[in-house]
Amino acid sequence: MPRVLLIEDDPSVREGVELGLRRRGHDVRTAATGEAGLAALAEFRPDLLLLDLMLPGMNGVQVCRRVRESSQLPIIMLTARGDDFDVVIGLEAGADDYIVKPARTEVIEARIRAVLRRIEEPGGGRPAVEFHGELAVDRAGLTVAKYGERVSLAPSELKLLLHLCAAPEQVFSRQQLLEHVWEHSYHGDARLVDACVRRLRNKIEDVPGSPRYIQTLRGFGYRFGPL
């Protein structure tokens, strides 16, 4: 069962979520501040970080940035609907997904599972490593290299890239991507997709302003290529 680090300043939420997840078999460690959470990170080595955005002192976005500097640990933000600005900033900072509070434990757990779920292995006959232009995508090893140099991608970025390049030149709408990559409902928040695409472009495109790999089809969605 996954190890989850929860950084949440409100005791009742912290305790409630911890109780709920622990009951479902998760190994949960909690921290009340960003600083304490970062300190627990190295020692607890969680599989996933549940991160409240509104924290005293160092806020959730800063924590998210700090984590991303050194690791591609899956991060799910806890937020309240209406804090739209924070959601966008958090997603830009590298969070993979977000959950609107208050949420039932089953919803939280479903999101955790979705973020942690691995992309299915390629079927027989397909090579493990695909080359797209300057990109080398290793579906088995779940690594991406550009000009032979490894690109470190957050889980959502990697899954998005794998999903898109599995069907080059096919257009996926934001809703389809939300369903398949994030396992959200069809009516989810498309900003999740847009923010992830921006982050991915910054890492793999030569000129993020005029993308070659992840192309936008106005009014329809995104596609991989054509190169």
Binding site: S12, G20, T105, R174, Q175, G188
Partner: protein, 505 residues
Amino acid sequence: MISGLRTRLVLAFLLVAAVGCGTTAALTYREARNAILEQAQDTAVSSFRDQIQELHLNLPPNTEQMQGMVRGLARQGKPRDWWVYVEYGSVRLSSGTNPTSTVITPELRRQARGTPHGSFQRVVRNGEPYLTMVMPVVFKTAQTGTGGQTQRPTGLTFYAVMRLTDEQANVDAMVVAARDGALPALAIALVPALLAARSVLRPVRDLRQAARSLGRGRLDTRIPVKGGGELSELARTFNESTAALERSVDELQRAEARARRFASDVSHELRTPLAGMLAVTELLDEDAAGLDPDTAAAVRLISSETDKLAVLVEDLMEISRFDARAAELNTDEIDAAETIRRTLQSRHWTDPARIVLDLPDGIRARLDPRRFDVVIANLVGNALRHGRPPVTVALRTETRPPAPRTAEGAADGTPDAPGGGSTRWLVTEVADRGPGIPADVLPHVFDRFYKADQARTRSEGSGLGLAITLENVRLHGGTVRAANGPGGGAVFVVEIPLTTSEVTA
């Protein structure tokens, strides 16, 4: 109204000018006419009298002598030519063709007998003015002792008839002159009249503009108060009233803002404890089976009510964001039919006996998928709860001229008309086969926490579903209205302007 006032002012001004002109002209005319006529008649009468007195005649005169006199007199008409008639006994002679004149009145004849100095009369015959004079010839005898004279009629009477046509022409010319002078004077008077009306009406115009500006919601409108007339009194009253109105509205708005902030604060404060509670409700549900029945029931109650409370608080937060205009529209271009189908699927409303769909594919619309999902889910959920199946969900597009539309119980949006031409609208209709909405409830269906039946103290949803629907549609620039269908049953129609042009990269 103001044009009426202006017209009345100008007319009054012109009336005064006309009365002034007319009176002056009439008085001048009368004096001048009298002067002209009197001068003519005085000259005529005195010259006629002098000429009569200078006559030398032997009594009794014979006809030839009289004829000679008449001719002589007729030649010396002053100031104009005249006809001379003479009467002596039964003899009638004249300088003209007729021995007697038709112009001389019996009245003049009577006067002739009474006054030895003669008399005259102005007569109009056949539209022509005449001066008629009569002059009896008298003896003058010196009276011894008194030094006076006595006069005795000779029985010889001279008449003179003079046409006053030239004088009349002069008088007529004066009338024409007066008229020709008065009309331009009136026309010229129109200019100061208009100027005066304008200056008098300026405060009225200011007042009208101020009232209009007030009507547009500019409550800080004030009128500059000048001088101390009645209109400035009105302006002062207007200013005082607007100031009072502005204060009341400010107070109301502050109170409303306080109320809304309070609702927002309350729901914010409720959310955090709810987040903790909601995370553990499953735990309670799972363990309830192992508790004694009363405790289990209590635990399940807490669990289910926590769920409802979470929905209510979430809806309250949503409404608060609309009130604070903090609601954001995160649009994406999507297939409208697919979006509706997904909404129904995710809520398991897929039984064809309960839900009938008429969703043509290929209508792409720029919508906020989450908000559109809420709209459809609220309307269909509402129809399933209050109406009777099957519930029909129909989708279509309509092209309409960009006229501003208002409808009963509808939210007014201001759709952007692309290119200023006609606008395409996405029309979604949700209808049920239930009893419909009572007429007294219909205007309130989109009200917050509105309950058709006051005895039902708690609605099945949060009581905010349709209010949130309305706000979500409004955020899209659209309208939603409720009505009863021709075959009974409630019909909700959502209309959203179709904009598919601009897309964010």
